[in-house]
Symmetry: C2
Subunit: 385 residues, 2 copies
């Protein structure tokens, strides 16, 4: 199973950390992070993108700031307050934690976000283009928590649904829908929280750069119920849940335009992989696709055989171009392997088949949320036009 | 200022803790708490209501579980895992934290909740009547995050809006509205998260015990913007925000019945105090009130003079009874002072004035969320009938 392999890969990524003592001299223009808890002075970020954390731990022997795969030693003052700084971080949003005498814990100064398989601390390094996802005085859409019972998984599930500003006022207007998925070890809270999907669309729609649309953000982990006898490897049924449960529910509950031309699907990383399979298996349901830092040949960078890849769905380039309205791929310039390799191999295949697509590179960002915020910002402008 | 006094009172409540070493023998029927992060085995709760926490902290000297104002010493095993238990806790939801060598941090096993002035850990002790706030296979309403810019405070604010199941389907039906407020050191996330307000109403409406209604949950902290010259004590303008900004916004954005008979207001603790003032100052806007563990004479238990109290609004009992549809007070039987004293003095005044009201006691609960979930469950059944 793909997810199992990814679990191992990411676990390695997150635990392969080294310990670094501070030797640099930081610029003293630190400010509290924009995602701190109300009234909390720490953590802070300076103009170099360094993170400064601080915590009272009177009796601790060793306290570290653990961010970006590196553990930075913090230093204790005479009041028992430990303070320390990271090397400059990439612009955008990062997950991190503190380590106190061997205990990995969230920093009590930040709000909490679900990523890396846990609810934990996050920090925002101001980006040069942060205006596009900023909270501004424009009309704001609603983000609604929608709980439902899934018969396929025999469990309660949840999606968040963005409805654009004005949705409530005019009871007749119907809207196109973007189904937007998170990555591995994340959940349905990713896009409406650290993804800022609602603010990105509020700003685009206010500037008339994007068509008003509904966005559905569900959880990409969905498994067949296990009975006593069948217990074993969990079998993903996310595609079935999307097609048989989520889409009919959204079309019944919200004022959608319920045809393929007015339905798009996109995802990041694992979500890009999943949603590419979903659109290719269900071309009667979707006409546009966005793959943010991911493709369905992940993690391979080997040449793709269009006759066999995804049941030959990319084999007839001319037919593909007729059916698909927007086929969009994005990647950060600093993404680690295997992402550039597998996305690169996928693009080569598209080009060989004469398939039209849009390719976007996010400058200076890795496999992180600023890449995906920018991807959504670019992709959403092309949809339903 | 009232809030300042409360701040001191609550700070005292939360920091006055004692250290307790384990000597008891617990029943070994511990199960993971229902509000743990996905896949996390700890914290756990047993049938006595004891909380068992566990955390890896290989190099720590002292780790404690800090719950209900008491710090319980945890014990280290040979792998560096610390485990410890609390005394039995009251049924319902409690905030708590861990203490690792002097650092107070959230438990990485739980989801996080805003209370006690921070985002931190919470735990759920199963209650005898937990069915009324359980997630069940009934039609579910939506909880929508609504961001708005407040001119009065010159800041972005947020409310959560519950719309009952079926709201989206029939574009003509209009609904009554309950404005529902959190307590001190909490925020607008309290009722839709640890309060389970949406699930309580979903279940009541499905059982036809409550009228379908909209619920608006905003943030009770709202202050006049401070200029350089006026900087000093913050001045609360929450009442102005409710009357001049929130109500017009909700009536414009949602399909409400926009008259006083179809508008109710309620709150818990600080919110009970605030909302009583708001309804009494705005009887043209609201016809029903719910005070959960709080009244506007807080924290005094002295006899109330109806001629002067809240500008004499309770002085004419007969007129009061004509104007108010539901006047409702609730309190937990285990609430600490000053709550029983101030609510008791308030009830005496009501009785002296011949004012009709409903009084509810939540058995075996203190100044905590089970008292308030039960209060909402009782109060909502009486509204708009």
């Amino acid at each position: 199973m793909k997810f199992k392999n990814k679990a191992v890969f990411f676990a390695a990524l997150f635990t392969c950390t080294i310990s670094i003592a501070q030797t640099h001299k930081s610029l003293e223009d630190f400010k509290p992070s924009s995602v701190n808890q109300p009234g909390k002075a720490f953590p802070q970020v300076n103009s170099e993108g360094r993170v400064r954390a601080s915590i009272l731990a009177t009796d601790a022997k060793k306290v570290q700031l653990d961010i970006g795969g590196v553990k930075y030693d913090m230093v204790k003052d005479d009041k028992g307050v430990w303070t320390g700084e990271s090397a400059p971080q990439d612009e955008g949003f990062h997950y991190y934690q503190l380590n106190i005498d061997g205990a990995s814990v969230p920093d009590p100064g930040t709000k909490y976000f679900y990523g890396a398989g846990r609810w934990g601390s996050g920090i925002e390094i101001p980006a040069v283009d942060q205006d596009f996802y900023a909270l501004k005085d424009v009309p704001h859409g609603l983000v609604s928590e929608n709980i439902y019972f899934s018969k396929i998984t025999n469990s309660f599930r949840r999606c968040f649904v963005y409805t654009p500003a004005g949705y409530e006022k005019d009871a007749k207007t119907r809207y196109p829908v973007l189904y937007l998925q998170h990555g591995s070890f994340e959940d349905e809270t990713g896009w409406p929280t650290q993804g800022n999907a609602n603010l990105i669309l509020d700003n685009l729609i206010a500037a008339q750069k994007a068509v008003p649309m509904i966005i559905v953000m569900d959880n990409g982990y969905a498994y067949k119920p296990q009975t006593g006898e069948s217990a074993g490897r969990p079998v993903s049924v996310f595609e079935e849940v999307v097609i048989q449960e989520i889409i009919p529910m959204i079309d019944a509950k919200f004022r959608t335009i319920a045809d393929r031309e007015h339905r798009a699907i996109a995802g990041l990383s694992m979500g890009a992989n999943q949603t590419m399979r979903i659109i290719m298996n269900n071309l009667d349901k979707f006409a546009s696709y966005g793959g943010f830092s991911g493709t369905s040949n992940y993690p391979s960078s080997a040449e793709i055989e269009p006759i066999t890849f995804l049941d030959g769905k990319f084999n007839d380039g001319a037919a593909f171009n007729k059916q698909i309205k927007v086929f969009w791929l994005g990647l950060g310039t600093k993404e680690p392997n295997p992402f550039p390799g597998s996305v690169g191999a996928f693009r080569k295949m598209l080009e060989k088949q004469g398939i039209k697509y849009v390719y976007y590179e996010s400058p200076g960002t890795a496999h992180e949320w600023l890449t995906w915020r920018r991807s959504l910002n670019q992709y959403a402008q092309l949809l339903f036009k």
